[in-house]
């Protein structure tokens, strides 16, 4: 995967341009992290406020490398049967029933228990073999022949035990299945872990990863993002919009609007045919930006002032 795409990832700048061509506008830090992850073959731990494009980064990287994206959403109580592998127990049961009848044929003519057992041994352990293995996301990522992009989403939601279980995968790209032995990656996958920081991750996990913090984008980058996502929007409105959002982020709110909300808002304004941000429109569409009633109540009386700042330049 890495070698095939050598020309697309030979420097952070190239990666940045490639991402831009795919409609993902990123900062230097993000491009550098992808560059390092590809070349050092290390997982990236992506942190940052919700809605700044953590998951999107993994998706776009998989587009960039034209590798399949394998996504695993973490939640409390996630265990290895759901993340790694499970035995196809239905198939196993069916086969035992079927083979019971065959057993007589195999054993025919065997003298004494010893000989029967040694004949049985010749068959090997068929029930715990690849045939009966049901791969889950992690195993799938290791077995993808040409390398995959593995996204382990919201790792902080999973339990600490699960985190420990990931360590072998993250450092050596292999996992142990007791019945089969160690499964090594055919081609090392590129791993993204995202976290919203609802709890502190263990040092062991952090040590194995590159650390990338994605903050809210700067005004210039946010404008570029909107241009890429909602190209129909006129420049003046785009400018006002970004200024307004950036003012909002400076207020002390329960949840400040992230990039995804900005894009939603821009789409909504386009749909409503708004070409100049005014008090009435902002008031009616505020619930797209703010997700708490408390926040909306706090912002409403301030709209006038915020607008004054936002429309100053235009």
């Amino acid at each position: 995967m890495i070698i095939r795409n050598q020309d697309k990832i030979n420097s952070p700048d190239t990666i940045k341009q490639q991402f831009e061509a795919l409609g993902y506008i990123c900062s230097d830090a993000i491009a550098t992290s992808v560059y390092l992850a590809c070349h050092l073959q290390k997982p990236i731990l992506v942190e940052g406020p919700p809605g700044v494009g953590k998951t999107e980064l993994a998706k776009k990287t998989s587009d960039l490398l034209s590798a399949p994206l394998i996504r695993m959403q973490c939640y409390e109580g996630l265990d290895e049967a759901k993340a790694l592998y499970e035995w196809k127990y239905g198939k196993q049961l069916l086969y035992t029933q079927l083979l019971k009848d065959q057993l007589g044929d195999v054993m025919r003519g065997a003298k004494g228990l010893d000989e029967s057992v040694s004949r049985l041994h010749q068959f090997g352990d068929i029930f715990y073999s690849d045939e009966f293995l049901e791969p889950r996301p992690l195993l799938e990522a290791l077995r993808t022949e040409d390398g995959a992009v593995l996204l382990i989403d919201e790792i902080d939601k999973a339990d600490q035990e699960f985190e420990a279980f990931l360590l072998e995968l993250l450092s050596d790209y292999q996992i142990s299945i007791p019945e089969l032995g160690t499964v090594k990656a055919q081609s090392k996958p590129l791993v993204f872990l995202t976290s919203n920081n609802t709890r502190e991750l263990s040092d062991a996990l952090k040590r194995r990863c590159l650390h990338l913090y994605i903050p809210f984008p700067s005004k210039a980058i946010e404008q570029k993002i909107i241009t890429a996502q909602v190209p129909e929007l006129n420049d003046k409105l785009k400018h006002q919009l970004v200024e307004f959002i950036s003012e909002l982020r400076d207020m002390s709110l329960k949840k400040v609007p992230a990039v995804s909300e900005t894009i939603d808002w821009a789409r909504a304004l386009l749909l409503l045919n708004v070409d100049n941000l005014d008090h009435e429109w902002v008031k009616t569409t505020l619930n797209l930006l703010l997700k708490f009633q408390d926040d909306i109540e706090a912002v409403e009386p301030e709209i006038h002032n915020l607008l004054k700042v936002a429309t100053k330049g235009s």
């Binding site: 230097d28 830090a29 992290s33 050092l40 731990l45 109580g77 035995w87 650390h211």
Partner: protein, 456 residues
């Protein structure tokens, strides 16, 4: 490059970043990959491999700037040389009549000084400093001694002998004065270099020592200026405790049968179900109620108890906080809404420094929260049990003890002072699962650590 990066990582560790040797290797590989010419790229790459949270990243950025600015003089040897060009010309002019004398200079250091190769000199200083233990300078006062050693390593002994000889001969006084002047400048350079190294490597060392001491020091004797640092430590401690213990799952032996897993586990027995697997895993989250005495008698420690209370509520999901002196109030909401400084100030203003009445406070607690105490609740009392000879309402305390899973009393006074004066500790102690003296941050850590561990 390895040496420079190694020193840089040493500086980072001094500043408190936990960098393992595996991460050091990662850093080196990253630096090799991106090269060291592009400073912003190098900074980002190293930052990603060495600093693993936002807080550490900020420290990293600061130290990176400091460190590589002090080192950049090696990389920009050109500028240093051009500055000395004028000097060199002067030397050339001067030394022409004395060229013989210049050539006859014996000690290598003297020749270098005359040649005026500043960039080369800097590199030599750095390597000599490394060899004579500049890294181990832990006090500013060690700088002169080490700078003497560095000068010796540079060959100052031979130079001085030669200078003495020249002074006796009296023939080459012009060269002599130039050499002496340059030697003085070299000495100054060495000292500057060492001091800079000391600052980069050690500026956080005193802090570290102070933190270590603060952990042990008793809460009553901490002075005002350490409040801030202490607050940070308390917060760290609470966070550590919470992340270690806040989520603990227990697999129960009852509940719904997990059919899939049961059949899987029993496939080997021809589908006969020997081993049962159950679906429900109960998630245990400690429910904690903390009562904090903020009255006059504990005024000195109240701030820290509150600080801990605040931090605990910040990191544990199910904490209810109460403060009291003569009557009790719940401050859970207040702590949620206000930031730390404001919240503490408001609590101390409203409820602090009043006479204590445990009986009255407990009956307030009865109306507010007694009904919510169940057999999974831990009640923690932070207070000195000095009741101003009022009725302690022991029966109510017994009721709390009976209802809850565990009752903990942390007394900031030493055990010798219990039951002295108006303290009625032993009456309450009868109805507590643990009674402990809690007089320093280390105590607090130890006690709560063990409490939360036994929770599961």
């Amino acid at each position: 490059m390895q040496k420079v990066l190694g020193d840089f990582i040493h500086a980072l560790r001094q500043a408190g970043l936990p960098i393992s040797s595996a991460e050091t290797l990662d850093g080196l590989r990253a630096a090799q990959l991106v090269g060291i010419d592009n400073a912003p790229l190098l900074k980002q790459s190293l930052g990603m491999t060495l600093a693993k949270c936002l807080e550490n990243r900020l420290i990293f950025d600061q130290i990176f700037d400091q460190y590589f600015n002090s080192h950049s003089q090696f990389n920009t040897g050109d500028r240093a040389t051009s500055e000395t060009d004028a000097n060199q010309a002067a030397t050339a002019r001067l030394s022409e009549p004395f060229s013989e004398a210049v050539n006859s200079l014996e000690s290598p250091l003297a020749q270098q000084l005359i040649n005026g190769d500043m960039a080369g000199m800097q590199v030599m200083i750095a390597s000599a400093a490394g060899a004579s233990g500049a890294q181990e300078v832990t006090f500013m006062t060690q700088v002169p001694m080490v700078s003497y050693r560095v000068m010796q390593a540079l060959g100052d002994g031979a130079l001085q002998q030669e200078l003495a000889a020249m002074a006796e001969r009296e023939e080459s006084s012009a060269i002599l004065s130039i050499l002496q002047q340059r030697r003085a400048r070299l000495q100054q350079q060495v000292r500057d270099y060492l001091e800079q190294q000391y600052l980069v490597l050690n500026q956080n060392e005193p802090n570290k020592r102070r933190e270590g001491n603060l952990q042990k020091i008793s809460l009553t004797s901490i002075d005002q200026r350490n409040y801030k640092l202490m607050g940070e430590l308390v917060r760290q401690a609470a966070k550590r405790l919470a992340s270690m213990h806040s989520r603990r799952r227990r697999i129960t032996r009852r509940g719904l049968l997990d059919v899939r897993r049961t059949i899987t586990a029993n496939a080997a027995y021809d589908g006969f179900l020997f081993h049962t697997k159950w679906k429900s895993t109960r998630i245990e989250r400690p429910k904690v109620m903390v009562l904090c005495d903020v009255s006059g008698s504990v005024s000195k420690v109240a701030r820290f108890l509150l600080l801990f209370l605040y931090s605990l509520q910040d990191v544990l999901p199910n904490v209810r906080s109460f403060v009291f002196s003569s009557y009790m109030a719940e401050v859970t909401k207040l702590f949620e809404e206000q930031d730390m400084e404001q919240g503490l100030a408001e609590v101390l203003h409203n409820w602090g420094n009043k006479p204590t009445n445990y009986g009255k406070a407990l009956s307030d607690f009865e109306t507010m929260a007694l009904a919510d105490i169940d057999n999974r609740t831990t009640v923690i009392m932070l207070g000195d049990a000095r009741n101003n000879n009022e009725d302690g309402n022991i029966a109510l305390w017994e009721e709390i003890y009976r209802r809850s899973q565990r009752v903990l009393w942390l007394n900031p006074e030493g055990q010798v002072n219990w039951d002295s004066g108006d303290s009625i500790m032993s009456k309450y102690a009868a109805y507590c699962s643990h009674v402990e003296t809690c007089n320093s941050l280390r105590d607090l850590n130890r006690i709560l650590g063990s409490v939360l561990k036994h929770e599961a």
